[in-house]
Amino acid sequence: MTSTTGPVPASTLSLLSAGQLGPAVAGAVRKLDPRGLVRQPVILVVWVGSVFSTVLAVLDPTLFGWLIAGWLWLTVLFANLAEAVAEGRGKAQAATLRKARTTTVAHLLDGREVPAAGLQPGDTVVVVAGQVIPGDGDVVEGIASVDESAITGESAPVIRESGGDRSAVTGGTTVLSDRIVVRITSRPGETFVDRMIALVEGAARQKTPNEIALNILLSSLTVVFLLAVVTLQPLAIYSGARQDTAVLIALVVCLIPTTIGALLSAIGIAGMDRLVQRNVLAMSGRAVEAAGDVGTLLLDKTGTITLGNRQATEFLPVGGADEKELADAAQLASIADATPEGRSVVVLAKTAYGLRERSDLPGARFVAFTAQTRMSGVDLPDGRQLRKGAAAAVTGWVRAQGGTVAPEVGQVVDAIAGSGGTPLALAACDDAGARVLGVIHLKDVVKEGMRGRFDQLRRMGIRTVMITGDNERTARAIADEAGVDDVLAEATPEDKLALIRREQDGGRLVAMTGDGTNDAPAMAQADVGVAMNTGTTAAKEAGNMVDLDSNPTKLIEIVEIGKQLLITRGSLTTFSIANDLAKYFAILPAMFAGAFPTLDALNVMRLSSPQSAILSAVVFNALIIVALVPLALRGVRYTPASASAMLRRNLLVYGAGGAVLPFVGIKLIDLLVSLLPGIA
């Protein structure tokens, strides 16, 4: 893999590229082995029906018999194809990931050299610039820049250092500079890359709870319809209308929910795949499903709701100082301040007051910020001193210089703090004496579009809670601006855990993101915990998803993917069941209109002959699977809306549509089939 592409080549986004179709068909044929079909009871029934009808066709060769047998096999094949295509996309990703798996030699701290695959948890290895990190672990000594593009697709190197929240390294990534000592945390064969490969390949795929429940319902419907058809023969014999076994098999296959049965696993695989495409790795399908059920999102303020840092938005002069003078002084005081807040002061002075940025001031002495003084500033060559900092520190400084503090300073500072902002006082000491020039209003800037996003979530019934270390007042102000439902201010890890438990007791599933070790307990408690890839090993282990892009906003997308997965499953189930109506109207009159001519009234589609009617229903039943494969892989259209609105739309499209479409489809196929000699 080149360092500029992610683990998901763009080509996999196209559904059925020519290069994949070949292997997929081969895979579909291989899946005809009934042992594998046990997982899909509905398709297994079709398989048994295919075998039976083939035997019947051999014993009593007719064109009709062979056509039925052929199309039944195609039905099984199409079902397998859906799964094979879905898996094929994952296989391509797995192949590229395999290249990232390291085959290098690990240099143990004690000087021995072992193959990377032989590393055990607890081993400590030394990795120097240019070497590949042999396994997952934590940096215990040193600092290095690491190229993680093999995993994340992000080419910019990241810093990894011992201690703190940036200590985790992933096997297969490359150290670009310096030397680090890594304590291995993963077992051989269970590294992050190994798990990723297993995930995208579908090897580790287990049926999710909801999928199992659906399978049970589908199996029970299959049994009901099987019974209905098996018991039909004695009734038919009594009625003097004994049916060919092939016809009965055709009826069973048409009635049991083959469409959803065929597409069920493909939908699940494709759902995981959609996450992978967004660079999110779910450790289990269960987590993806849970994402759809989430009722509460815990979002960290910084980086998710607001741009990382506070920014200067206003200069408020006091004591008769003029705005321009304040802006000028503020800019001068901030020239040496490299913090984002400092830069934003310079930028505001430039954009709002047209003050050109001065890059250096000859002869000026810069005063750096310290925790003791809580101020920074500059002493200019002309003797003018400027100080910027917390209001208390700055007013203290002014008084110490023998100046007075205008009474309005306190009011302005309080007003800013009250609105959720951070006030920075600016003072000058020159010939005119020491005085406060004014106050700079620093503010958290909410990311664009967040309010709309939260409104959308609210319509979907999802509560958003902002988590922040800020005090209550500041937090509330930002929360109001961003439009989140609730805030957890001055949040400690214990507070987070308690909040999650409270929400869960109230019947809501909780999703959160986290990266630090102190997030781990909350991540483990949350129903969906998305760990940032930049985070610590503890955080990654506690969560059930890892975001390779380390973008906390992605949580919202994850929820949408989870919902889309469930909606796709439900829509195709409804569609599949609704299809039965038309099939009855095709097959029943075909079976019995001979014995009871009045039953021809049920032949509402006016299909040309009994054989053509039955064949058309079987053909439709097989083709609809292929037709819906793209939908199953892509997922049904999803626009965030209330449950009522979504239900109305999907019921109309997939329920009513599912009832009507087969009438049209079967009729059209009948028009073609009836052209066959010996069928019409």
């Binding site: 909801n210 009901v224 209905a228 009594y238 609210r458 469930l566 029943l588 239900l647 109305r648």
Partner: protein, 552 residues
């Protein structure tokens, strides 16, 4: 007044009466099953059978209580019939023969009340009063008790207790069925239904012949026969007998009685789960299906072809002239929509399609509104299935009333869905295929098939009405139908109580804008469609060869 106008007026009257009583009755029933105060007489009962009325049961214990009570009921009723000749008030009846006694015992304990016997010539007054009437009360009360346990499953959170079967059973009798039956019986007596302990009167007819007029405690049994959706008549002719249903308005009153509790239970359900709208949604589905069914039966019966029929104005064969076509059709639909099985006309003589609708009423599982209790829990299971199928379409794991529908819940609901159709289909297929079954057929062709299909549908769904035209009092049918009756009653109860246990153990998910709405008209439509498609379509092939082949 034309027959059609009279028919509409009857339906309007019935609907108005049901609308008027369903609220107070539903609320009263909710109170009955939520209060912790015992009546003095109830405490005596609890003490007599040594039940701790203040303790609650886990679902397996609840189920064991239901089964034990029913087994004892069957044994007692069987014995009573066998020894009636040595007991007082036997009216000189001999012991009921074993096959019939067994069939009757099972049938009455399961609220089926399939009558293989002729009441006036088989059962003495003591068996009628102490045996059959008692089971009319307690089998209905059992159904209500199970339904209430299921409702508690939805209403409660994080508990393994579903209430106490013995308490619910007792209260259903003392506070609901007995008071209603007393009122009902008095009205029936006023309407001309007989009520005495006479062993019968011989009268000379105008033509000079002598005729035997059987008397008996009819009105008291008639009331609970309808109120408990039992359906076993005092006389063989059931509600068509002039002593059981003397006039048209009495027959209409009987329809009212048999719909009374089933239509009020959704209100009880809404109350107990703390959201009336949920109860109304369930009621809406029941009412929609019932209205459609009544309309269809009436229409098919009224528009029947044929010279004689047109002269009579409607298909009057097998119908009482004093009731007329509309009331007969209404009664026929109502008795099969519930699990009553009482008849005031002969279903076998209905037009093929009219008879087909009556048949379909039962095939849907008798959920609109269904038997007392059983209708509600049947509909709730269908609601669970409907929510599961369509609920995924809102992008969440399906949940009904805040209860998540996972693997176990769906296993139980699916098996419930499977149980009754399997009994009906297998029973019918076997009966029509084996000589022992074929021998009982009196009609050929599709009508004969309908008769067998009807017998097994009625038995497995615990309806108890017969299509007639089938000699069902044979060893084969006594055994086969008896099994269908027993499994048709208790398999669903086992599954639904297990489901209730699972649901009660769950917490409750919060209701948000993302929650699948189960109280809107859209859901009513959805549940109606699921009932028709998922359950109804199963029987389409069988119906095609029976009523449809005959009637289209």
């Amino acid at each position: 007044m034309s027959a059609a106008a009279a028919g509409w007026l009857q339906v309007a009257l019935l609907v108005a009466a049901l609308v008027a009583v369903h609220r107070p009755l539903g609320d009263w029933m909710a109170r009955v099953f939520t209060t912790d105060r015992h009546w003095r007489v109830e405490q005596l009962v609890y003490r007599a059978v040594s039940v701790d009325a203040d303790s609650e049961q886990r679902w397996p214990v609840h189920l064991r209580s239901v089964l034990a009570f029913s087994v004892i009921g069957v044994l007692f009723l069987y014995l009573l019939q066998r020894v009636q000749l040595w007991l007082p008030l036997s009216n000189d009846m001999t012991a009921v023969e074993p096959g019939s006694a067994w069939n009757t015992a099972v049938s009455f304990v399961t609220n089926t009340n399939w009558q293989g016997y002729s009441g006036e010539s088989t059962m003495g007054h003591l068996v009628q009063m102490a045996g059959l009437a008692v089971q009319n009360f307690v089998s209905a009360a059992t159904g209500i008790a199970v339904a209430i346990a299921v409702v508690r499953g939805f209403a409660r959170t994080r508990t393994d207790r579903l209430g106490n079967f013995w308490v619910d059973l007792t209260r259903a009798v003392t506070r609901i069925l007995l008071p209603l039956s007393m009122i009902g019986a008095v009205v029936l007596v006023l309407g001309g239904v007989v009520q005495n302990l006479s062993s019968g009167t011989e009268v000379s007819t105008l033509a000079g012949a002598t005729q035997f007029l059987p008397g008996g405690p009819v009105a008291s049994q008639e009331a609970i026969k309808e109120i408990g959706t039992n359906g076993g008549g005092f006389y063989n002719a059931n509600s068509a007998h002039p002593f059981e249903g003397p006039t048209a308005w009495v027959s209409l009153f009987q329809v009212f009685l048999l719909l009374l509790i089933p239509f009020a239970l959704p209100r009880t359900f809404g109350r107990m789960v703390g959201d009336q709208r949920q109860g109304y949604a369930i009621l809406g589905v029941m009412a929609t299906l019932a209205t459609a069914s009544i309309t269809l039966v009436s229409w098919f019966e009224a528009r029947a072809g044929g010279t004689a029929t047109q002269l009579a104005g409607a298909a009057m064969e097998g119908k009482e002239v004093r009731y007329g076509e509309p009331l007969s059709a209404l009664f026929g639909a109502a008795t099969t929509l519930t699990s009553t099985g009482a008849v005031n006309s002969l279903h076998d003589s209905y037009t093929p399609l009219g008879g087909g609708v009556v048949l379909l009423n039962m095939m849907l599982g008798e959920v609109a509104p269904g038997g007392v209790g059983s209708g509600l829990y049947g509909m709730l299971v269908l609601a669970v299935v409907a929510v599961f199928v369509a609920g995924l379409m809102v992008g969440r794991t399906p949940e009904y009333l805040g209860k998540r529908l996972g693997r176990r819940e769906m296993t139980l609901a699916s098996l419930y869905l499977l149980a009754t159709p399997a009994l009906v289909l297998i029973g019918t297929a076997v009966a029509i295929a084996v000589p022992a079954g074929q021998a009982s057929l009196l009609n050929e062709g599709p009508h004969g098939l309908s008769e067998v299909l009807y017998a097994f549908t009625s038995a497995a769904n615990n309806n108890g009405s017969a299509f007639a035209g089938l000699s069902a009092n044979t060893p084969f049918f006594n055994v086969a139908l008896g099994l269908a009756v027993a499994f048709g009653r208790f398999l669903p109860i086992v599954l639904v109580l297990a489901l209730a246990g699972r649901l009660a153990a769950q917490g409750r998910t919060a209701v948000t804008a993302g929650t699948f709405p189960t109280h809107r008209p859209l859901f009513v439509g959805l549940l109606t469609a699921v009932t028709l498609v998922v359950v109804g379509l199963t029987f389409f092939p069988a119906l095609a060869l029976g009523p449809l082949a005959e009637g289209l």
